[in-house]
């Protein structure tokens, strides 16, 4: 990464063959697989109309599910913001036995199917589980609570913060810090004034990606949540239930909300990334 060649010379346009074929195939595939189904949702949402939307979304059960989803996702993201920063820092900055193993483990939540993560976490935290055995007598109930929902969300979204921070931390030249240290800056000050501003865009990107993932998480959550309406029922599950009842308008309305939230976050992270590019370009 350190020595990406600079393309100073303007390259002649379309020297290479295959533009028509590749761009055509790409657009066609995306149209059929991604855009057409999305258009179906938007059409359905359009049919419902603003009034219908309002009515469907303000039902107590829908409201509760959206609220539970957002608060659990926020809780999970706060945890991952701390955990991710810690892990990225120790994996980039320090050497310790088992580091390669720990580094590899960081990807596990993405590799593990969400349903598998869901039953595993439920087994750990249930009354007779390895963690539940200790926590429940202490009065901490995780299974069938919003805490449980947040833990499941945190697990499946854990890699986002670590993996977005790692490359940026690696890019920070140690000599900048050394210079700061030589000039007498304390470690805390170095972190706040030199390192943190440099990693902030990536940090925000990682956190918002994690949050977006939490909002839509389904497989990991439904097992540990117990899915009590108004208490631990997340929006994604309510969509599923409405679909099973053939209540497509409500399912479509909630799905539109989740989709809009996801797109909003995607646009936000793209803006942050553009900002980061400028920041890094300026730094070089």
């Amino acid at each position: 990464m350190s020595s990406a060649p600079t393309h100073a010379a303007p390259r002649p346009r379309h020297v290479l063959p295959g533009f028509g074929l590749t761009i055509g195939t790409t657009l066609l595939y995306l149209a059929v697989i991604v855009l057409l189904p999305l258009a179906a949702l938007l059409l359905k949402a359009g049919e419902i109309g603003p009034d219908g939307f309002w009515r469907l979304l303000t039902s107590p059960r829908t409201q509760a599910s959206l609220q539970i989803t957002v608060s659990a996702a926020a809780l999970a993201t706060v945890f991952n913001a701390g955990y991710g920063l810690l892990m990225a820092w120790i994996l980039v900055r320090y050497d310790f036995p088992g580091k390669r193993f720990i580094d590899a483990l960081m990807d596990l939540p993405f590799a593990l199917p969400t349903a598998v993560a869901g039953i595993a976490l439920t087994a750990l935290f249930s009354k007779n589980g390895w963690y539940g055995e200790i926590l429940e007598p202490a009065g901490i109930k995780v299974v069938y609570t919003v805490t449980g929902v947040a833990i499941a969300m945190a697990f499946t979204s854990a890699p986002f913060v670590v993996r977005t921070l790692q490359p940026v931390l690696e890019d920070i030249q140690p000599d900048v810090e050394e210079a700061a240290a030589t000039l007498g800056a304390y470690r805390g000050a170095i972190f706040r004034k030199v390192i943190f501003p440099a990693i902030l865009p990536a940090y925000l990107t990682g956190c918002s990606l994690a949050f977006a993932r939490c909002l839509g998480e389904f497989g990991a959550v439904i097992f540990i949540a117990g899915n009590l309406p108004l208490k631990t029922e997340i929006a994604a599950l309510l969509i599923f239930i409405r679909l099973e009842e053939y209540d497509y308008p409500t399912a479509a309305a909630i799905a539109t909300v989740l989709l809009a939230a996801a797109f909003g976050i995607l646009l936000l992270t793209n803006a942050v990334q553009a900002w980061q590019m400028r920041y890094r370009a300026k730094a070089k």
């Binding site: 060649p5 179906a40 599923f240």
Partner: protein, 281 residues
């Protein structure tokens, strides 16, 4: 990379140790233990029961279906990834940024929403529902639906690995080859492919892992017909709700092994990419 520790001298050594300790303990509790509990539960009734559970007719059927879906979906999305990466990194055209965003859309769509949009397109009340009915075609709650949503969910994986790499590598080598008279296909095969093969493999592994493990989207569109449209992750859920914990965790353990295998392959591929880059300088 250990500069920070050493340069700050003795006083600094306590904080790094604390941080490393905290990080390792949290990772073991939070990431590793869920994996261990799967195997502990799967083997809770002994190895014989475990094997019997894996060889149960419905579970075997779910394994086969999952393999079939993966073998169909992965090649399609590998091809899509390569084609899209070629179009995006080798040519300049307006709307490129928008195209990149569209490619990434499936990553930010909830699996459940992915299922919903396909139902609203191909379902009985869906956009194309009447048309499909006229020709007596059934997509929803059947195999085609599972193929389609899995295609949707896994479509960005390969493209996303290839685009940044090919962008960084530039096109000089390919342009030289074409100028010297190589055909486009020869250029791709002999010049581009060797440069991108590890990233391509890596993207393929990620794509396959997700195709095997996708739950939410498949759950919405499959119709959950026992022994018919149940993929392995759905079978895990079904057994779990049947209060057959050992059976559910046995099925889950096979998925976990695949996930662990994917991680090992990923680690190996990453090392290759790094050593190749190192050797280049």
């Amino acid at each position: 990379m250990t500069v920070a520790v050493q340069s700050s001298g003795k006083k600094a050594s306590l904080l790094p140790r604390l941080l490393i300790g905290l990080g390792v303990v949290l990772t073991i509790l939070f990431i590793l233990m869920p994996v261990l509990v799967i195997f502990a539960q799967a083997f809770s009734k002994g190895a014989d029961t475990y094997i019997a559970n894996i060889l149960h007719r419905e579970t075997v059927h779910a394994i086969i279906l999952t393999v079939v879906v993966t073998l169909f979906v992965v090649p399609v999305n590998v091809l899509f990834g390569v084609v899209a990466a070629w179009a995006i990194t080798k040519f300049e055209f307006p709307g490129k940024k928008l195209l990149l965003t569209v490619i990434e859309i499936p990553f930010s769509v909830s699996p459940i929403v992915a299922g919903v949009i396909y139902i609203l397109l191909y379902g009985g009340q869906g956009l194309l529902g009447p048309l499909l009915e006229k020709f007596d075609l059934r997509i929803m709650f059947a195999l085609p639906a599972i193929f389609l949503v899995t295609l949707f969910v896994t479509s960005p994986f390969v493209a996303r690995e290839l685009i940044p790499l090919m962008e960084a590598q530039g096109s000089e080598q390919e342009e030289a080859a074409v100028t010297l008279g190589a055909s486009g296909w020869q250029t791709f095969w002999h010049v581009t492919l060797p440069n991108i093969r590890w990233a391509l493999m890596y993207g393929t592994v990620l794509c396959a892992a997700r195709a095997i493990g996708e739950f939410g989207a498949v759950s919405v569109v499959s119709g959950n017909v026992r022994g018919e449209t149940n993929t392995l992750p759905l079978q895990v859920e079904l057994l779990y709700h049947d209060y057959n914990a050992a059976g559910s965790f046995a099925a889950a353990s096979t998925l976990t092994l695949i996930a662990l295998l994917a991680l090992v392959v990923k680690a190996l591929l990453e090392r290759r990419v790094q050593t190749r880059r190192g050797a280049g300088h």
